[in-house]
Amino acid sequence: MVQNFRLDQIGLINREKKLSFKFNGKKYFGYEGDTLASALIANGVHLVGRSFKYHRPRGFFGAGVDEPYAIVQLYRNGETEPNVRATEQELFDGLEAKSVNCWPSVNFDIGAINNFLNIFLPAGFYYKTFMWPRSFWYWIYEPFIRKAAGFGVASKEHDRERYEHKYEFCDLLIAGSGPSGLASAYAAAKNGARVILAEDKPRFGGSLLTSDVSINNQSGKEWADNIITELKGMTNVTVKNRAQIFGYYDHNMLVMSERVSDHLPKSEEFTPKQRLWYIRAKQVVISSGSIERPIVFGNNDTPGVVLASAAKEYMKVYGVLVGKKPIVFTNNDSAYETAIEFKKNNINPIVLDSRQDSNSEIIKEAKSLGINIKFSHVVVAAKGYKKVKSCDISEISEDKQNLNQIKNIECDCICVSGFWTPTIHLASQSGGKTKFKEEIDAFVPDKSKQKEVTLGSANGIFTLEETLKTSFDKGFELSKEITNKNNSQQIPKVSEKKHSKHDRFWCVPLPKGKNYKRFLDFQNDVAVSDIELAIREGYRSIEHVKRYTTLGMATDQGKTSNLNGLQLVSNIENKVVPAVGHTTFRPPYTPISIGAIVGREIGKHSKPTRKSPMHNWHEKNNAVFVDAGVWLRPRYYKRGNEGLFEASKREAENVRKNVGVCDVTTLGKIDVKGPDAAEFLNRVYTNAWLKLPVGKARYGVMLREDGIVMDDGTTTRISENHYHMTTTTAQAANVLSHLEYYLQLVWPELDVNVVSTTEQWAGAAIAGPKSRDLLQKLFPDTDVSNEGLPFMGFVEANFFGVNARIFRISFSGELAYEVNVESDNGNFMWEKIIEIGKDFDLQPYGTEALSTLRIEMGHVAGSELDGRTIPYDTGLDGLVSKKKDFIGKRSLLKKAYNEKDRQRLVGVVPLDKKTSIPEGSHLVKDPKGKLPNPKLGHISASCWSVEHNNPFSLAILKDGKNMIGSKLYAMSPLKNKTIEVEIVSSHYVDPKGERVRS
């Protein structure tokens, strides 16, 4: 297909490289350096989508980040992405894109019926229409809104692309590479500052790429190219294109999204699609430029109505004409550059200027080129449905209230300019205030809140000369404060055309008897009439008007609509714009993909993975792993066709019958050292610690100050002033912080140090009736008899030449020991135990068997110590000292903690002795009781008791102490189960605890 709207001589595209692409299934060609938008316009395609609410035809309005309409669904390398702005998406070979928000096709859109029914879709129509009846929400309203609204479809596939995060520091971060960005970057870099310069577009230079100026006798673009080349060669400078600084956060932290591979057919191997930069800057220069604002007139959303600056950019950067019969409609001088550019390319524009007259340099030039200029003229309405075909124009009175006779003239595009709005999003996000600058009818940053400065047109300065001067000065000044150097640069000589004053005019009145839609917000279909209605209905605050009408919402965030919306509200309310104020600018400035936010922290990388030194052995021996916090622990060791149930049952049975070994490396371990260590433990634990002899371990419970059990574990006195504390795997980090808190802040007078030793020791729990016989073989030089190493005893021993610690402690209720060696020897220890254990029918067991053993013993663990239970609830009240004070003790006096029918740990057995009770089931009296059925307790943990060969559960039950022997129902609505159960003692095995002492 011929690119009918492509110019021959002009543009920065590479005509040597032709690219093919598809839009809505149809094949087109463009060039390297095109955007999807410029390539489509070159091919005469202006209809790209349908609007949000009324499904009106949508074309292109801008040429970059300000584009409100041209949002497409992109297909790239087998993936799809919604919400892509065609004006930002660079063309690559094989690109495919589709229109969004239209069904069945962009040319014939059923939703467009909304446009003809729009009387039913006024401001706030979601709130009004979809309120009642409530039940309609689920079945009718929500599916309707979901289908009809929104841009594009998120992929349901896993995103195969790679995204990265990067952290960076710099002296000056400069957002935007237009004249102010380049000048300040250059001045600062030359003065020794570490500079990061970020440009959102693929090309550097901003307005210099398209403006008719000269700097030091070079064109704006040549000057920009030279500066960039020099900056790139400097080691203290990082220059990034395709990089949008979208958020300004606290303490000068800014986040930048770099589109590393979005412009390529696919990402190269090991290269991310996008990279998020977290940048901490000493100073920030906001040189984000300005966005042209529209003038509001009838049907101003018709495809073919574009910003004048965009029309110029399409010509000068891409060599593309937005139309061949252009109208340029302006209230200021800048649009004349567009008119002149048309003329230079042999196209005859008609300029409608709302001002009565102007005789500035640029207008003289336009006149001398023979351009047809009509002063005091406006576009009343665009005509044409899918593309502008003509427009109604009229003379307008000096007070801009009255139109004269209306004439229709033929045209194929309307290039509109309502002057310029500084892009103050970043300055506002930093927390700084804004002020209204009368001369430009727009807000500019006021006092900076953080360490930032706004320069150039973002600060409302629209002459190049002043911009360069202030930017060179500021770059030098800011860098000097940081580097203490004094290398200033000569400010270049500038030649530019002087502009005359713009006209404070932004909305064309409706002609008598006409009711054209005049849009303010093109992305959200908010028209003048919607704002008027909202105000009539009593909305006053601009923030409320925004939410009620959706003005300035969604991905666009009001880039082209904000100020006109404010003008309208201020007119109706008869207030000045600054009194109306503006809505808050929130990050991100442009949409950021979820993938970029997540970065590399996906799947198994979403948290660190910790492995014990014996991990490889477990893996080789068919361990099935389970996540225990960040640790990977063997859940069971699979033999043959065994599932979880069979394997864990076998392992647990073998512990009760013979002997098992379990990797307990993951238990938290903390060294507590110092002369006051005993006193400290005495305050931390609920039970007494002052008299624990060296070589003995003790079980302890610690509380939070509110009396809730925090953690439990055994602590062993290794020597006079040295204790070895163990915590649960899950609470290890919290317990350490807790201890540090008390030592550093509450009792700094105690001479105690704590340090985590979790990773220093590998641990193996050896449990079962044969464990002592095995231990004797493992430690032939050590007396491990009941007398030599009694229950809760500790001894240091030699384990085949390496140092080991033996603790006689038990979690399973069997005769048991825990052997620790230094981590590096962990695998050696494990393999020796396995090897020598063969003679004793030893089997390794995983966490599932471990749970079974502790549950049927009635030992509490994390599922009972769940942050809601006190010692009494969990049967630990025997460990609470009456004599001494400790953390949380005072809370135990609370009335609620001493109610007679307080909840208590119990055992639960199903009456049929067959049905396992789902964890989390509620215990109720009456299974058919009226909802909400009073809950008496809940099942905290369930297992298959290997001792009794039937299901057994632990529960926390109201008045549990007196409920033993009673019958209740366990109900699990999730599993749809109701099970009749008997309440029994929580000690289902060896209630007297004889085995551990045997």
Partner: protein, 89 residues
């Protein structure tokens, strides 16, 4: 993301720290008889001021010291930071 000057380590990013709440709370002495109300105030009741707030932060991914930070809760401005034993003022 805040930039917090640990008095032991220097400027560090917020994600190295854990928040520890109001630093002016004093735990009642051990073994001292106190009323329910006093105890409840210590355990549960915290002011939530808009403006200057002296608070605890724990440098968990750093030196593991609890430090005090004088911060404005509405602007996030940090006026000063102190070691746990240091006098504030």
């Amino acid at each position: 993301m805040l930039y917090i000057k640990c008095p032991h380590c220097g400027l560090r990013s917020q994600n190295e720290f854990a928040y520890g709440g109001d630093a002016s709370v004093k735990r009642p002495e051990l073994n001292k008889e106190i009323s329910d109300q006093e105890w409840d105030e210590f355990v549960y009741l915290r002011k939530s001021p808009r403006g200057k707030h002296l608070e605890l932060w724990h440098h968990v991914s750093g030196c593991r010291q609890w430090i005090k930070v004088l911060r404005d809760t509405s602007t996030h401005e940090i006026f000063n930071t102190y070691k746990s034993e240091e006098k504030v003022g």
